[in-house]
Symmetry: C2
Subunit: 109 residues, 2 copies
């Protein structure tokens, strides 16, 4: 998985914008067209498409053009890589803090 760091760069970068997180939340309810996404975001179609492209680059979203309509849906495994990276650190750092607490307890006996 040589591309893993680049995938993480793209995933975290895609998530670093409130509009893009709102798009993901909407897609969590089911597939929608770019035009339908534009309404609640109060944004132009090219503006929405730019955000969708960033989400697509991170494999968080998949799009599919049918006639003149581009449909968007969540990717097959959205957020799995980001969740794995974060969970691994939280576990490691939690263990380190536990060891630190234990050594403080030993020292105070």
């Amino acid at each position: 998985m040589a591309q893993y760091p680049q995938v993480l760069d793209r995933t975290f970068s895609a998530l670093a914008d409130g509009h893009r997180r709102t798009i993901l939340d909407r897609l969590g309810e089911g597939p929608v067209s770019i035009s339908e996404l534009a309404v609640p975001l109060a944004m132009s179609l090219p503006g929405v498409l730019k955000h969708v492209r960033a989400l697509e680059a991170a494999q968080l979203v998949v799009t599919d053009k049918q006639g003149r309509t581009r449909w968007c849906r969540l990717g097959a495994r959205p957020l799995d890589d980001a969740a794995a990276w974060i969970d691994e650190r939280r576990t490691l750092w939690g263990r380190r803090l536990d060891r630190f607490d234990a050594s403080l307890e030993d020292a105070s006996r």
Copy 2:
């Protein structure tokens, strides 16, 4: 928590760079100075400081100047907000897929 979306923007933005993720991994082992961080990153001190500032803005890292040395350590609750946002979506989307699978099963009976 009115600042929550901005905190998420800063957190995900801070995580969207391999150098910054490497810095977090190093700090997971314990506090280090900016100079010590610079060695494995093969980066200038101002370069490291710039990344550390981005991590600091996201409250992932805390720094403390003692004499001429700036020490860096992990923030008190690093990654908690990012993990909460991601876990909430994965749970919601997982439930939606479960309902979808169940409706497919019903339809095939």
